[in-house]
Symmetry: none
């Protein structure tokens, strides 16, 4: 049986935007890895009528419903009552849930308030998911071919309860495996990528191929279903090979999250160090490198030379160069990268200088014009960008390109 | 008319858990500030039938439907087609959308592929939300008492389009005025804030008071409804006054988005300049300052001294200090800030040095220990933090505290 799942998150705090529904993201990832298709996420408030409507709809079209939230001790916590009602079950007392709840309060040295008692009740005949990470137990039952699972809402509890309670329950239900592999591309737009692949993608059924675009990068995700993980991987391999032949060096990695991660791995592999001199990106390159745990092994540091005085004084960019060409120029990008390499004592340095906007610079250079340079033991290269408008877009594109220059240098 | 809204997010990437539905969170907050109740969030994949089902359901019970996603150039992008069909409208060509899209591609120096053409079409009679932050326009129309708004999915675009296009459209629909004012707090936790305010908040009806917590900061949003904007503001004023008396200097601003924005305004007002020396934050402070348009007027630059060699060589931190106390120490934080002030030639410099994790440092300093310093013409101050664990949390807390030191220095 191939399952069709719906997720229902219960909580007015989600509808007010106090928190994002990260439980749904976590569950979707986990269900996809189990070969279970998720067709809808729904969020409802702590309102019995609207929750009932969502459950009735879900049971008409899905054979697996997972709820998150609304299992706690307060009067807002109505998920169990509504679900039990929708599926015609009574709530019954569970002695272990009470014992665990009492011992939890003992451990944290707090009095157990009376309202906690509602957590001791579960739908009759349900498998109880005891909660080692909080007080509210979850549960699962099957009724008329529909499996219902209820998990607590707090993300930490929800994640642990899913992994340790729900996954074993679901594994017993599901057949086969779904495996995804994501190729990351830089230097091609989503529409360009899709144009090349549209026919192919439409014709594919297993594996499927899906394009994604985010912040100036693209992804291609290959997803295969098969009885076993190994068989699913075997379906993916030839598609990946074909895509690699098609896109070549535009593919910078598979199943990694960013260009800087690719750069980090290459630098570490080769025992080389990196530094940065940033004008328009203003620290973004350094920030992205140092987001990565362990980056101190390869990243020596950076200079954010937001003013000409810092370009001259710290990086040693010649005053005459700044006078003659202006800060946003190929020669200054070059001198910044070379200066950073010298001052920071790194093997490779990148630099950026450009107009992030909103206004053009005092020499009339347009928003989006950026020079990105890389200085290496073998010399310096500069790439000129026209990155469109929007401060964040220009800065992101400049940083992407700096990392791309390093990646291409290290894999050439 | 009081509106009832449903949000429908379109995108298989959401159902696969590749991304969380942060658009729904952002929109929920924004709608709540407009006095619009949100009763359901739904997520559907790039599937016309299931999207149609979600829309048909939403139009049966809401008078405002906002979709996010599915407006781009690829064949997955079907939101406009499905919504137009559900509401019996044709799609018609929009010349400005084409002109904007072409000029966008021209600006970034890339060929516009043919599939972009689907972005030039909008439902007949719709108000077009031109997109200054990407290529896909949004739109809005009303049919049978239901208002439909479509916004692009990428969070950056969705946020900008909501703020600058959808909010003015929605404001025009509502009778009377709803005005919100958001006080921003630093240096107090959400539970502490709530504890102080719970009774007050529960008793309030107009204005209402809602607490939010995010990334180590807190917000208090006061929302008032009244026939006119002036009357709404008059309801807010005494509540704001009371909260300011209660929280004092912990409130760093109203209706501004971040600590760095407060710092930027103060520096500009006083004609002072800032610089940074960052170890554990690795460029985050500089990046956040330079995220702000016009920051070159006050931000001179920064040094990311991720290694001791850069602390010594560029910032002039004495070797003996690093030897004796280690990089993560009060004296080194002090020397970094003073060095940055000298080297960068700024009036005020901040520095950070700490253990962002995941591992403790070679001297056994625990993850989360951070020294943040500020050097000014009147001397240097160091703040010691214990910022918990989690690399991002520690770095964010360190940067927040650096800005907080500047703000407090400038307003003391």
């Amino acid at each position: 049986m191939s399952h069709t799942a719906e997720l229902i998150a219960v909580g007015t705090e989600l509808l007010l935007g106090n928190i994002a529904n990260t439980d749904a993201q976590m569950l979707s990832q986990g269900l996809s890895a189990l070969g279970i298709n998720v067709y809808y996420h729904t969020v409802v408030g702590d309102n019995p009528g609207r929750l009932r409507a969502a459950v009735d709809l879900a049971k008409s079209r899905a054979d697996l419903i997972i709820t998150t939230g609304g299992l706690g001790p307060t009067c807002d916590d109505l998920t169990k009552n509504v679900l039990a009602e929708c599926f015609g079950r009574k709530l019954v007392y569970n002695a272990e849930a009470e014992a665990r709840c009492r011992s939890f309060f003992q451990k944290i040295g707090r009095e157990m308030t009376a309202n906690n008692a509602q957590q001791f009740y579960v739908p009759e005949g349900a498998v109880v998911f005891q909660n080692d990470w909080g007080t509210a137990p979850g549960c699962a039952f099957e009724e008329g071919g529909v499996h219902v699972l209820m998990l607590p809402g707090p993300p930490r509890e929800c994640t642990a309860m899913f992994r340790h309670r729900a996954v074993p329950y679901l594994r017993a239900l599901s057949e086969g495996a779904i495996v995804s592999r994501t190729l990351k591309l830089f230097g091609i737009g989503e529409s360009g990528m899709e144009e090349l692949l549209r026919e192919k993608m439409n014709a594919m059924e297993n594996p499927t191929l899906a394009p994604y675009a985010k912040e100036g990068e693209c992804e291609l995700r290959i997803t295969a279903k098969a009885p076993t993980e190994a068989e699913a991987r075997a379906l993916i391999a030839p598609v990946e090979e074909e895509l690699r032949a098609l896109f070549g060096h535009k593919i910078y990695g598979a199943d990694i999250s960013s260009l800087e991660e690719a750069v980090f791995a290459l630098l570490r592999e080769r025992g080389l160090t990196l530094g940065s001199a940033e004008s328009c990106t203003g620290g973004l390159i350094a920030k992205r490198m140092t987001d990565l745990p362990g980056s101190s092994a390869v990243f020596r540091g950076g200079v954010v030379s937001y003013t000409n005085a810092v370009k001259e004084g710290v990086l040693g960019v010649p005053h005459a160069l700044l006078e003659e060409y202006g800060a946003v120029s190929e020669p200054v990008a070059r001198a910044m990268a070379e200066g950073a390499r010298r001052v920071l004592g790194c093997d490779i340095a990148v630099s950026t200088t450009g107009v992030a906007g909103p206004d053009s610079d005092d020499r009339g250079n347009p928003v989006g014009l950026v020079y990105v340079a890389i200085a290496t033991p073998e010399g310096t290269r500069v790439r000129e960008l026209h990155a469109g408008s929007g401060r964040e877009r220009v800065r992101t594109a400049a940083a992407h390109n700096a990392f791309d220059l390093v990646r291409r240098y290290l894999t050439k």
